[in-house]
């Protein structure tokens, strides 16, 4: 009952109309009485909303979460040549230049060309999307976006769409327009939430989705009939490569699945070959198997705190009866006893 507009004067047009009516005085009383009937309660949170507005109209700003060593990228919005194909961002690459470009080119020149962004091997990248949402890319993952983020006058009808190859953790700003993540196998639709999608083209057999908060909808690209599932917080599903529907919804530990965001390394129930590929991406190394045949055995590994690659390799090799040795570009894996490696 706070903020009732108790003393709002009658609009002049209404007053002169009521003055001509026999029951006019009573109607004026009703108008006054309505002061009681404005029940709005709650907090408008103006400063927070303003922050979100400025983020949105400036096409996103860096977000920095101190606990995360992930580099932040706000891609320049024009279709510059280096962004047309997958960019090779280097360590001290032209961040300043990119930022200056974004400002100089300005809002008006923002073209609806596709933007491709890849987190280099060995590095993670937080990308600010034009709507204020963020995508944290694990090493070696790429996203691509174009339509839907662009608002053309009143024509902001399309979805906010991102295509993903690899693994990313999305924090989506709530808007009336849906936000979608497309992979080879699946489409994930949300309004505003945090969730993880993992869909490496070169491994796994499909797309994994896990939800941290909010609700998302997952559908298989090959679905002939309506087969979408809805995930709530703490739930996950998997869409296999040739599946026509997502798997049964399961409870998942999202923090663990997304352990990479805090430097951890966590894979569950994966063949050794997949774990090696993940290590290659995360640590930007080549891992070569020397006279080793990797079997079907599946393993789970979980390192919550920034493990060194040698810690992980050492554990894996101990378990598998293997040994590893350094090479110029990474590591060789070989059988433990019978054939010692010559460096």
């Amino acid at each position: 009952m706070s903020h009732t507009p108790s003393s709002r004067p009658l609009p002049p047009e209404l007053l002169s109309e009521l003055a001509q009516r026999p029951e006019g005085q009573e109607l004026v009383q009703v108008w006054e009485l309505l002061a009681l009937a404005d029940p709005v309660a709650g907090s408008p949170e103006a400063s927070r909303v303003w922050e979100r507005i400025s983020a949105e109209i400036s096409q996103g700003r860096p977000i920095l979460t101190p606990s995360q060593p992930i580099r932040v990228l706000t891609p320049p919005m024009s279709g510059k040549a280096h962004l047309r194909s997958q960019p090779r961002w280097r360590q001290t690459a032209p961040w300043a230049l990119a930022a200056t470009l974004a400002v100089a080119v300005g809002l008006s020149a923002w073209q609806s060309r596709p933007v491709n962004i890849t987190a280099p091997l060995g590095q993670q990248l937080a990308v600010n999307l034009p709507d204020g949402s963020t995508a944290e890319l694990n090493a070696g993952s790429s996203i691509r976006y174009t339509r839907g983020f662009r608002r053309l006058g009143g024509l902001a009808r399309g979805d906010r769409g991102v295509a993903l190859d690899g693994e990313a953790y999305f924090t989506v700003v709530r808007q009336t327009r849906p936000f979608t993540v497309s992979t080879d196998e699946a489409k994930v639709t949300v309004l505003g939430t945090e969730f993880l999608v993992r869909a490496h083209r070169d491994e796994l057999d499909g797309t994994r989705v896990a939800v941290q908060s909010g609700r998302v909808r997952v559908s298989a690209n090959l679905a002939e009939r309506e087969s979408a599932v809805e995930l709530g917080a703490g739930q996950g599903t998997f869409v296999a490569r040739n599946a026509q529907a997502p798997d049964v919804v399961q409870d998942v530990g999202v923090d663990r699945l997304a352990a990479w965001r805090r430097g951890g390394f966590w894979l569950v129930d994966q063949p050794l070959s997949a774990i090696f590929r993940e290590l290659e991406r995360r640590y930007a190394v080549d891992i070569r198997l020397r006279d080793v045949v990797v079997g079907e055995e599946r393993l789970s590994v979980y390192y919550p705190e920034r493990p060194s690659i040698e810690t992980i390799l050492s554990d894996l090799c101990t378990r598998g009866g293997l040994r590893y040795s350094r090479t110029s570009r990474g590591f060789d894996i070989s059988p433990q006893a019978e054939r010692p490696v010559t460096p």
Binding site: P5, P9, L18, V40, T176
Partner: protein
């Protein structure tokens, strides 16, 4: 329009500044208009966070259209019209999505027993407030919208006409009919009303 809100000239000035990419004008507009706008959406969607999102979206849309704003139209009316359409879309989507056919709160009010005892001189102002809200909810949609924009949002007849896409004269008719219907409904809960008005101090 009430006196503490910025006048028409200020809104026209913001519209001119926005047209030349002046982001400071958006800030001025936001500071003046956001809270009342949020309250207005709250009356439609009855969820604070959704109301924040929709109001936010309305400002962003104004910014997106800043170079093509029609200076002859009130920027304030445009803001309310934008947020109103967003809210209507939202409510429609929400209904499809969640199959929420009834607003439980409104249903609760309607289900309230209307026994004689409550229509008593002891009836509290809050009880009367609930009744009034219920009566407003039962108005025809156009009348209800005109009434809310006028009585609660303090928009001028011309602004309401711009928001609702009708003539100012029609706005006046909506308001008169709405007040008449409310008076008729109030009379069904007894003669208590006129004395309550006095005791509630709402009527000088």
């Amino acid at each position: 329009m009430s006196d503490q809100t910025p006048g028409t000239e200020q809104y026209a000035e913001w519209a001119r500044q926005l047209a030349v990419n002046d982001a400071a004008a958006l800030r001025g507009l936001f500071d003046a208009a956001y809270e009342p706008l949020w309250r207005s959406v709250m009356r439609l969607v009855n969820d604070e966070s959704t109301a924040r999102d929709l109001a936010q979206d309305a400002f962003v849309r104004i910014w997106d259209r800043r170079t093509t704003l029609d200076p002859s139209l009130s920027l304030r009316a445009l803001l309310y019209r934008t947020v109103r359409n967003l809210a209507l879309n939202h409510l429609r989507d929400e209904q499809t999505r969640r199959h929420l056919l009834e607003d439980p709160e409104a249903a609760g009010i309607a289900a309230r027993p209307r026994d004689a005892a409550s229509a008593d001189k002891e009836m509290e102002a809050s009880e009367l407030a609930l009744r009034l809200q219920q009566f407003i909810a039962e108005l025809p949609p156009r009348q209800r919208e005109a009434l809310r924009l006028s009585r609660f949002d303090g928009l001028s007849h011309q602004e309401i006409a711009d928001v609702m896409g009708c003539a100012p004269r029609t706005v006046n008719n909506h308001l008169v009919r709405a007040l008449e219907q409310l008076r008729a409904r109030l009379s069904t809960i007894g003669t208590v009303v006129s004395s309550l008005i006095v005791s509630a101090g709402a009527f000088p």
